[in-house]
Subunit: 125 residues, 2 copies
DNA sequence: CAGTATATGCAAATGCATTCGCAATTGCAA
DNA sequence: TTGCAATTGCGAATGCATTTGCATATACTG
């Protein structure tokens, strides 16, 4: 039977209110504001449980630990922005046209990813 | 003093003739056609040396080992295609317009990456 | 051709994100 | 409130790409 613990609540709250995909460490830090004793292993266990329940989506980042987000917030097609100052990942609405014109002759495209790099609003100040 | 050994020659040849960015393992396999005794550690040592000399560019792949390519072949702006069947990475010419319209208000873009996924010509057959 | 510093192969070591074992803790049904 | 199974924290273990130590092999100068 699944129990509702303060660590799980804190982790899910962190994910829900993060406003952007979070790395396991970012989740740990955010949730420790509520449950200081929280352990990284527990974060991973909870992420795994959420993922098994299909409630979590992973966002891979080039050369870094993946970021996680509640699936329902990640549902629609969109892309990500990576802040090279704070290492944060942000979601961006919309997409672009004409990607298939990049495709080499005879290749078949099933999907795509776009990553923009730069400075987020906070770090730009 | 730097020596020209058959393993280095084989590794550089593999990179030069690969026609696409290669992973350390792909480089190992390709170069072993010439030097069967070649060791993965030697591949890494050679890649490191090339990188230190600025002759090598790394292409990060989501959740996988990076691919490497001689810098002069990677010079111009372009993007990559990942074949989900053979795990190969291919270069694509060209780029797309309108990326900056994705940018959230107040964010500053310094660069971008585009990855297309699908099947390469070989795997489609 | 000999001498030696550079390279190699091998296996062991690292660094890392992630997972596990286990004893102690804690929700929650009765 | 009680009892126990689900959870947790902790440290040790894993899996992985990559690096290193060292004895052996080899390229290259003289």
């Amino acid at each position: 039977m699944v129990r509702r613990t303060k660590q799980r609540t804190a982790i899910e709250t962190a994910l829900r209110e993060g406003g952007r995909p979070l790395s396991p460490d970012e989740i740990l830090t955010a949730a420790q504001a509520t449950v200081p004793s929280l352990n990284l292993a527990t974060v991973y266990r909870t992420l795994k449980r959420l993922a098994a329940a299909g409630m979590l989506t992973a966002i891979e980042v080039l050369g870094e630990a993946p970021r996680y987000r509640l699936a329902k917030e990640e549902m629609h097609h969109h892309h990500h922005f990576y802040c090279s100052s704070c290492q944060g990942v942000f979601c961006m609405e919309g997409c672009v046209e004409g990607l298939s014109k990049l495709l080499p002759q005879g290749f078949q495209m099933t999907g795509h990813d776009i990553f923009l790099y730069g400075l987020c609003l906070q770090c730009r100040k």
